[in-house]
Every structure is written in C-alpha cells, then in structure tokens.
Symmetry: C2
Subunit: 737 residues, 2 copies
C-alpha cells in the first residue's frame, strides 16, 4: 500500500468544519462526497452542530468511534493547529487542509504555516494544502469527490495537479465541457507537505492514470522534478501550464502565492529535458490532452486532411505546415481508390475535399482508404455544418473507422459543442479505441450524476482547425519524446584537481573573478581549447614563435589599454612565412608610432589563423530555482541583440547538447550556407558537455561566459577566444546545506 493511499483511497473520512449551511465550503464538501457516493464512511465534525446533511455530527475527531484514514479541514485559520493535534491524537495518517490564509497572504500566515508543517511532520502525517480546493479519485471502488466544485467529476484516465484552487474549479468544469475525464485530481495549494513530485511518484505505477496534467506557478524542487519527470514521460505523457512566464507575471505570481520569481528559460529548459509538453494556456492544455488521452500516437508528422469544405481545409493546411506538420503524399493506389469515392468535380488531393454533399458514408469510405495508406500517419477530419447531413452521424461514422486503425484521427467539427452534447447522450454504446481506458463501467446508482465516459468513444473533436492541428502537433512531439533514447551525461576525463586548486586559491583570496591566466588554465583542464598565449616583443621573436605555432598565423598588437586594433592597423592576418611576420611586425610598429601610441605598445601576440570559423557563445549562470543553467547561442552583435539563445539545466547529455545546437535560429549558418562547409558539430556538442561538466563540478560558478567560441569545420582550429568566470562563494554555503 502506498503512503498516499490514505489520502486518495481512504476507507473513512472525517470532515472537520462540516457545516449545516449550503453554500459554505464545509457543507459543499460533505454534499459532494455524498452525492458522488463515496465508497466508505464519512463523519462530519463540528462542535456547534448536532447533524450535518442528515448525518450525525461529532464534536471532535477523537469522539469518532471508528478509525479514520483521512481528515479534511475546513475550519478557520486560527483553529487549524488545534484540529491537527486532535487528528494526531486520533492517529489519522492523511490530511487535506482547505483553509487558506497562510504564506500566500502574509508573514504571519507564513509563520503559522511553518508550525503546521512541523506538526504534520511530528505526527508522521501526509498533508495536501493548505489553501487548496480538495482532491478527487474517480475509481469506482473509491468514488471520492472531496472538493467544493459545483460539478461532479468525470471518470477518465488523467491525473490532474493544480497549484491554483480557483483554476481547479475552472478545470473541472472545462473537463466536463471538453469531455476529458480524470482518474485523480489534486489541488495542492501551498504544497507545503505534498508536492507535484510526490504525486508524480504516486501515479507512475497507477494503472488508472495514463497521463498527467499540471498547472504550476512555481517549482519547489526542480532537480527532483527533473529526475522524476524524465522517467515518467517515457511511459505516460505529462502536459503542463506554467504561469508566471514574463517578468511581470512572475512578479504577480510571487505577490499572490508567495512563490519565488523564477526565470522562464529555466522552465522551458527543464520541461524540454524531461519531455514535458508545455502548453501556453489552459485551452491548449485541453487541446493536447483530449487527443493524447484517446488516440494512438502517430509514427511521424505526415498528415492527411479530409474535409467537406475548402476554406477550413486551407486553414488547417496553413496551421499544420507552419507548425511543422507535413502533408502526406498518397500512393497511386490510394489516389485510384479515392477517385471512386469522391465527387467527380473533386480531385484526390491532400487536403481531400469531399465537397458540401458529403454523407457519413463518404467520410467513412474515404477515411478508410486514407488510413490504409502507409504514407499517412494521421488524419484530420474536418466537417462544417451542411444543411442535409447530420454531423453527429459523420462523427460516429468516422470514429467507427478510426477505431480499427492504430493511427490517430482528430476531428475539426465546427459547432462541436452541440455535437458533443448529442453524442454524450448516446455514447455508451460505442466501443473504445484506446485500449488503456476503461469506459464500460456503469453508474453506481441511478441517483448519481450519470457517469460520463467520453474518451475513446468518439475521436477528439475540435471547434477550429488550428486547435486540432495544435493537438496533433502535441502528439507528434510526444511520440518523439517516447522515442528518445535514455542517456546518462558523459563524464569526460578532465583535470579536476588542478581546477580545484585554482578555485581554492581564488576563494582564499576572496576574489569573485578569475584572472585571464586562471580562466585559461581552467578551460585547459576541462579540455576546452584556448589559444596559446604566445607573446613576442620583437620582430625576430615573433618570427620564431610563429614558426612554433605553424603558418599561417594572425598577429595582433598587444596594447596596454584596450583599443580598436583595426583602427590603427593593429591586426595582420594570414602571415605565411617568416618574412611576412617580420614585415608585418615592423609595419605595425611604425603605424603605431605614426599615431603616437608607442608608449602603449607592448609587443604582439600570435595565434594560428582560423578559417571558416563561426562565432558562438557558451555560458553558465546560476539560477536560484533551477541551479546552474547552461546557455548556448550564436555570436556576433546582431544575433546577440536578437537573443538567439537556448538554455538547459545541467548536467546535459549528448542528446541535449545536439538539441541545443539544433534549436538556435542560426543553426543553418553552423551547418553551412552558401556552399560553406559545416562546422564540427560533434566537437561543439562535446564542448557544451565539457562546460556542463565544469559547471556541475564547480556549482558555485555564478557566471561563466565563453564569448566568442570560434567553431570551425575542424576540431583542431576551434577555440575559446575570450572567456570569463565568476564564482559566488555564498553558493558554497547554500548548496552544502
């Protein structure tokens, strides 16, 4: 038995703060539990009431003669601690604290919450909340609706975690409207004891939960989340809305829920690395979820569009192609078979237009042909309301065909709400085409709200082509996530000891920046190529050094203060022999003299000449929520202005590194445009991983930037031209806790 079963699969429940007055939370919860026909015992507790909702009411939990698995608290804030003590005495293992007014409101509330958490830990309890709207388990063996939402839940295979109580109500009501059923639901509120991580762990093995939806406002323990979610998403999809995306949004989040301000790049990074699909809005979340919960995954992104009207077909094509789907090419067999079905004025194109006269039978036959085509991985069925054809019949005909294939079929039915309402009333008779969903259960009794089992009975229906396309894209993405091979980060052989010594020295000297020499040595120790520091103070010395480096070389004037070298001819490139080096040195010297800069001149430094190189930026920055983030971006002033960068939490895998490189908009430049050769992408990926390893070994690096790193077609000419490293010694204490 899992520890959380006492909360989600209780045999007996006490409602502390049960109320006699409809409209009060303490009444609504009792009412919902009764109405949804909880398969266990319920005990209202309220010292000021003799009975509640026709049930005997107890003065205190300790007075209840039976054992209690779960106590639900809906008492005033000031009475919460005393109530928890009584639960402790009674030996109740599970708590759901509805009461609000804790860290989300003020300092005083935060202090009270701290006491609450300590008490819960002291008694060895697990607690959902405080400041939440309750929990749900639709398992017919449990039937628990311990929320104060106005509508009863719909049975399904989705686990839902909401950090916002208010959105929880909305989500439950949308779930009914959008025909998405839940296995369990938890409004986790301030999540001061039980978090989304605990629920992910709990649901990993739950056969009734096939998908998880998250509404998050902040992360409690992102490292744990990463670890859990990476594993979870290999078997079941996780979809998330994370609000507080913008600076202002994060500020709003922090002022109302006490959540910390977090960088959104960190959220994107973590979701990407864990295979969590991020939705921007609740609407999008439902778009994804209705498809993923009822349809098989597509093999790839090749879609056929079947429609009875041109306009929406074009709109679907636009939305699909611009978001990465591909229009499937039919085989000649398919073409021929279609010609026998479609009206003579139409053509066997993609989109396939059945024209306004299309009957359910036309749809059925055409879909059957399309799904048989090996080049079609998914079908989008569009139907706009014709006057003489019943769209409900179209939807059911299409669903019947779809259930015979293991390819996803999604519907875009304009006026979908009415259709769904009709189907809902007749859907019990359909068979299920998504094997993992149980939808043949009968309502527990006639008095209960009629049980609804939408999933699998019909294909998911959307009101607009764009929503259907979005959902299909989500499926394609999740299919890719599932196909990811599981990798551990590589550990390259590096010289960690030397690096430790360098940092120790910097720490001893209480510096928060490394010298150029130290940076050089750290990078060398971690196998990141840097230019040889090769300085010459005379033409002759330059010639000797150049020969050592190997021709051709670049010579740059070494000036006391930073100056634009190109302004006074302080850079000479492509020097191919001793003579050219001697010549260039003297030429440079005389130019500098011309400009009265001789007092600034300290000689030259020499580098091997790099050809066909591209400038990129690598960075590490420490984020208070996510720990060290690795950044990769294109270099150069324009691109920096455009912020063509990507972040990942560390450590990264080789797969992560390749993905980072492929994700920047400038990737084609790295691959080579206009006949240029590609840079060494594997080596670039290795450098990213070496940076990750460095930042992971020395987590107290607050910031590190290699800008530019010049990556060339060959490994041996790529190098970190300039770099800086800033440790933050306060992190040393923070992380060691």
């Amino acid at each position: 038995m899992h520890q959380l079963d006492t909360i989600f699969r209780p045999r007996s429940i006490a409602i502390i703060g049960a109320s006699q007055f409809p409209g009060k939370i303490g009444w609504e919860i009792v009412h919902n539990i009764i109405k949804y026909e909880f398969q266990g015992k319920l005990f209202p507790v309220n010292p000021r009431a003799d009975f509640v909702h026709s049930m005997k009411c107890y003065r205190s939990v300790v007075d209840i003669p039976d054992h209690i698995d779960l106590a639900i608290l809906s008492v005033p804030r000031s009475e919460v601690l005393a109530a928890v003590d009584e639960c402790g005495k009674k030996g109740i293992p599970g708590l759901v604290v509805i009461t609000a007014g804790f860290k989300e409101v003020n300092q005083e509330g935060a202090a009270l919450e701290k006491q609450l958490v300590e008490k819960v830990r002291y008694y060895g309890m697990r607690m959902v909340g405080p400041n939440c709207m309750g929990i749900i388990n639709t398992d017919p063996a449990i039937r628990l609706d311990a929320t104060f939402a106005p509508e009863l839940p719909v049975r399904g295979s989705v686990g839902f975690i909401s950090q916002s109580g208010a959105l929880g109500v909305t989500i439950l009501s949308l779930s009914r409207e959008r025909h998405l059923g839940f296995s369990m639901f938890a409004s986790i509120g301030n999540k001061s004891n039980l978090s989304s991580n605990d629920l992910l762990e709990y649901w990993e093995e739950d056969p009734d939960t096939q998908m998880v939806l998250l509404y998050l406002e902040n992360f409690g323990n992102p490292r744990k989340f990463t670890q859990l979610a990476r594993r979870f998403t290999r078997n079941k999809p996780v979809l998330a809305v994370k609000s507080g995306r913008t600076g202002a949004g994060a500020k709003a989040a922090s002022s109302h829920t006490g959540a910390l301000v977090t960088l959104d790049v960190g959220t994107d990074a973590i979701f990407e690395q864990c295979g969590v699909l991020r939705a921007n809005t609740i609407d999008e979340l439902f778009d994804y979820a209705t498809a993923l919960s009822s349809q098989p995954l597509p093999a790839d992104n090749r879609v056929a569009i079947l429609t009875n009207a041109g306009g929406p077909g074009i709109m679907a094509t636009d939305a699909g192609v611009s978001s990465g789907l591909q229009l499937a090419e039919y085989t000649s067999g398919t073409r021929e078979a279609l010609r026998k079905i479609i009206p003579p004025e139409s053509n066997p194109n993609n989109p396939l237009d059945l024209l306004a006269g299309a009957t359910p039978d036309h749809y059925e036959k055409a879909l059957d042909v399309l799904l048989q085509d090996p080049g079609v991985s998914a079908v989008l069925v569009i139907s706009v309301p014709p006057i003489m054809v019943d769209p409900v019949k179209v939807a059911t005909a299409v669903s019947r065909v779809a259930s015979r294939f293991s390819k996803p079929v999604l519907g875009c039915f304009m006026g979908v709400q009415d259709i769904l309402r009709t189907i809902q009333q007749t859907s019990q008779s359909f068979s299920c085409n998504a094997g993992h969903i149980r939808n043949n259960e009968k309502p527990a009794s006639k008095t209960a709200d009629p049980e609804l089992h939408f999933q699998g009975s019909v294909i998911p229906l959307y009101a607009f082509p764009e929503s259907a396309v979005r959902a299909l894209n989500g499926m394609v993405r999740y299919a890719q996530i599932r196909r990811r091979t599981y990798e551990e980060p590589i550990r390259f052989p590096v010289n960690k000891t030397d690096t430790e010594n360098i940092f120790r020295k910097v720490h001893t000297e209480e510096r928060s920046v490394l010298t150029q020499r130290e940076v050089h040595d750290v990078l060398v120790a971690y196998g990141i190529p840097v230019p040889l520091i090769c300085i010459a103070k005379s033409p002759e010395e330059a010639a000797v050094k150049a020969r050592e480096i190997g021709f051709p070389v670049v010579m740059k004037a070494l000036m006391k203060t930073r100056q634009h070298k190109s302004d006074f001819g302080g850079v000479a490139i492509d020097l191919r022999n001793t003579d050219e080096v001697l010549d260039a040195y003297r030429h440079m010297e005389s130019r500098i003299a011309d400009r009265d800069l001789t007092h600034e001149f300290e000689g030259v430094y020499l580098q091997p000449m790099v050809r066909g190189g591209k400038e990129v930026i690598l960075g590490v920055s420490y984020d208070n929520t996510f720990g060290s983030l690795l950044m990769f971006g294109m270099g150069g002033i324009y691109v920096e202005t455009m912020k063509d960068t990507i972040f990942r939490t560390i450590p990264i895998t080789n797969q992560d590194a390749r993905q980072m490189i492929e994700s920047v908009k400038g990737y084609p430049v790295l691959k080579g445009v206009r006949g240029e050769p590609s840079v060494d992408l594997s080596f670039l990926a290795e450098i990213l991983q070496r940076c990750s390893q460095l930042a992971s070994d020395f987590y107290f690096i607050r910031e590190m930037e290699i800008n530019p790193f010049v990556i060339t077609p060959e490994q041996n000419t790529s190098l970190a031209v300039d770099a800086r490293i800033y440790p933050d010694w306060s992190l040393l204490e923070k992380e060691s806790v």
Copy 2:
C-alpha cells in the same frame, strides 16, 4: 440610392429554383426569408411547382406581374445562363447566384463563368456569386435572410464578407454563440462581379455598419483594396482572416477555389499599410470583433487587471506583457481608495486580487476606482466561478460601471457560455454603453426568433485570459491605426529621363540585367548614394586618387575574377596619407606576386573609409498579385539566414518607411547598442522611399537588390556597396493592358 441597394435593400425578390422540398437549398432560402420576415414581396419561381412554402409559384420571372429588384438563383448550373437572360428581359438589376460548379471546379466551369459574367455586364446588372451561400441584411426596415444557414441572423453593427460559403455557415452560427450581431452579411463566392472592394465602398457610408470582418482566400484587385481599405480603416475597423498563408495552404487554396497562389508577405504588407487587423484564426477574429464592436478604444496600452483569483491574474499578466501591454501603475489616491475595498489580506497591486470572496459589489466598487485612475487606460476583469457568488451578477455589475466610462473593459469569465446564455435572456433591460449601436429595437413579431441585441448590453466576455488579452491588444492596435496621420508618398526630385534612357537601351538590347555601370547610373539618378568608381593602376595614381577622395581611404585589389580578397591581403583599410597609400599598393602587389596571381591583378579601387556602418538589404520584387513589393532587412550572413526582413507594397509613405525600419528585429542594432551611435535613420527611410519611387516609376523591374547598403551615423558616408537590377519586359505588356 446606391447601386447595391437593389441587392441588399430590395423591395421585391424572385427565388429562381425555389423548391417544395425542405432540406433543398431552394426551399431553405425561401423558408429563411419568410421566417426572418422580409419586409417586402417574395416570388418563388419554378416551372415544376405550383406553390412553394404556401406561396404561389411562377413558371418564369417574366410571368411575375410586379417589378423585381433582386433575383436569387438556385438552379442547376446548366440552367443559370437562361435564367439570367430571363432576369435581363424582366429588367431585374440585382442577382445572387447560389449555384456552384464554375471556375472553382474545372476549365468547363471557368468558361461558363466567363459567359455568365459577360451576360451580367451586358444587362447592366450587379451579381453576388456564383458559388455562394447568400446575403443578409438585418436592418429592421429590410429583414432579409437570403441564405440557407440553419440559424437566423443576429442584429448588430458588423458587416461580414466571406469568400467561403462553408465558413459562412460556421460564422453565422459562431456569431450567435459569441454574441456578435451583423448589419449585413455577404457570401461572395467566386466574386466574379461583386467583390469585397465593392462592399467596402458600399459600407463606408452605411451608418448601420460600424466594423467589417473579412474572410479572404485571395485578392482580386489588391491596389484598389489598398486604396479603399486605407480610407475605410480611418473611420471603422476592418478585421480579416486571410487563409492560404503557407505555401501548402496557398496550393490548397488554388486547387479548390481557383484562386492564385499569392505570397503571404504581400498580404501582411497590404494589411499593415491599410490598417487592417489580421487575425490568424476565425476564433481570433471573433475575439477582436466582440471587443471592438462594443467598447470604446483605449488611449494606450496601460491595463489594470481585476480578479478574484491569483492564477488567472498571472496568466493574463503573462499574456499581456509578452504581447505588448503594460501593467498600469496606480496613483497613490487609487491605492488608498482600493485599500478600503479589498480584503485585508490583499494588496492594492496590479493585478488587483479581490480574493475568492469577492461579491458583485466588490467588483463594482473596485472597477469604479480603477477606471477613475488616469494611469489606467483599460481594465481586464477576471472572474472564476466561486461557489457563493453569481457570476451573472458580477458581469452585470461590472458592465453597469463600465458603461459610465469611456475606457474599454473586457471580461474573462471562466464558464462564460452559461453566463452568456443567462444574460441573453435578460439583456433587453440593459442600457447600451456603445453609442453607435442601436439595440432597443423590438422583434418584428412574436413568431419571429427572439431578436438578440448583445452588443453593448454587457462587456465582452472571454473564456480564457489569453483571448481577452488578445482582444485588448487588437483594440490598442486599432487605436494606433486611427491615430496615424494620413500621408501621401513623397516624390523626391530625381533624374527620371536619364533612367528612362538607360532602361530603353537595355530593352532595345533585349537584356534582362543591367550592367554595373547602368546600375550605378540608375541609383545616382534616384539619389541613392553609391561609391565613386575610382580605379588606379599604379601606386602613384592611387595616391593622387586617394587625395581626391579624401583620407582615410580603403584600397581593394581589382582582380579579373572574383576572389576572396582577404585571403591574400587584397584589402587595406584606414590609409591616412599618400605614403600609406603608396606603401599599401606596393605591399599588395608583392603579396599577389607571392601567390602567382599577378596575371589577375588589374590595379586597385579606392573608396572613402566608412566607420560605424551597419549593413542592411533593400530590395524590390514583383509579385503577380500585389505588384512591386519593397523589402527591407538586416544584412550579414546570420541575419540573412534568419530572414529578418519586412515587405511593403509600393509606393510607400515616409511613415511606412519608418515603420519598416522599426519592425525588423535588428532595429536595436541600427539604433545603436553598446554605446554605439545610431545610424542616420531618417536618411535610411529616405533611401527606402527613393527605392519605392524607382520601382514605382519603372514597374517592370522584376527584381532589384541593394546588398549591402551600408548605413552610417552620417548621411554622407552611407552608400549602396553592391546592387543588381533585373527588368522583366513581359511586365511591360502586362501592366499596359
């Protein structure tokens, strides 16, 4: 009386092809006209029926004793031409041809359509269609629903034009669901006689039409559209969905409606220049329209968010800030006033959280305070379903306050559909807060569908924060469009005659490319600065020429074939005096000799040294639909890869030019980053306009590219470094037609 009044304000209508059978289009139209209580006479025509829908049926229009204003044709394709002839004999001025099967299906249909159009022109008629779903005029003096849509229209102030019949039905049904009423509606089908341009012209002076919505698949006459829409949008908003955005979408569009493949950049350009708000989806279109049709325009983008739940407040903030809205800062007076209204646990922040217990009265008071704050230009009211508060009461309370202010108030009410359904039943009693909308009309009779007048009775309500934010953004954008000053393109004094002579010569020689010298001369004639062509064949000549140009200069080797000059030191920059020029020439010569390239060497060319310049690209390309498009973009390989470019149709105004420059992502680079000075933006705008003038004067330029144009902080150092011009003499014939 306007020519189109015979179609949209007819006194008598003949339905040719009226049917006795419900479900047939010829019956549904008769039925709708009767059911919506047309305020005129209706005559069914069908040689095979004695009566239709209880009305006497005529064998032919010519048998009808009365004068007929409008004939609606729903006969088989083969009978259309004969029917039009009869209409011609009868002297009927207006036609609506529902019948399909013309150019949208095949060559034969296209030929028939050509005959149809000629006949219509011959009789001096105006025609809507063919291949359309009819027209609507909700004016109580007309009451015409001549469509076969299943639902009757809702009265309102929006004119709707749809190029797709199927989407037309959907749009009408959505209009009811989303509570957006129409003044007139036209499904224009193949628009072979009457186009959206005609309707824009018609509605410009129509007091009942305060906004126009367009669903377009292609443009017939984009130049006329530009001219009309530019004027129209200064008084009334025009919102458009243009499908066929992607290449594949455009291909789908062309295969099903016979529309030409058009470049989407052209559409964006034309909408931007005309002030048309483009929506990506029908859903978005309704989001914008419901706000713009009922609320006053905001002064600017400063929004206050009022909510009873934190989560949606954060989501609205995220969506708002990331799309360009700004959170309003309250005055201290506002803060103080709010403190008296909000619960003690809350703070007078933006978003303002009234917490879950908020009553309609709380909303009313808080909204009143917010709307009084001069720093608040718009308010977004969010309400999530609380258990004890009636959201309908919140919506009506909020609407009451909103009606007293001339600032927009938009609502995000989760579960909005139920609320709207309730309000719909009680809305007759509300006063209207949008002056231009008439909403106190009574239903014509009790048998008619109850008239619905949503607009103005309550604030627009959205189901998700993101939709409300999107709508508010649309309002901010339209307010900006309204504030645009009306400008004519500037005509700069240029040497057109010389340029004509150059092109005449190229034409005579049947060339489709100009020589470098010709390009140089054309640019000079149009005041676009080009480098002096200054060639020297010896060190001494170079020194003389350099003195003429003025120091410092850049020297580049002139080679017979194109070579990477930097590879062999073929570029010397910043030469400050005669000696340096002499020296550099000799140095270059000897380097070239070292590399055995002397046979390639033809001397050097000299240019003034340009500092602080940024590379941009200017281009012109001729599009078959839109005519010449002017392109502006950032230069450099990375940016070119990222396609940071913007297009406008020509001619452009100064305002257009400034906007183009400000629209590219690299704009901050032009304005100066890292302490660099801004380039001369006014001069850059002038160069764009000069290019526009050139392309406008010589419309047969198929392609022109100035790449790079180096723009510097000073006008006199900016120049077109490289340019190419390709005329297309076939355009000469095309355009002269």
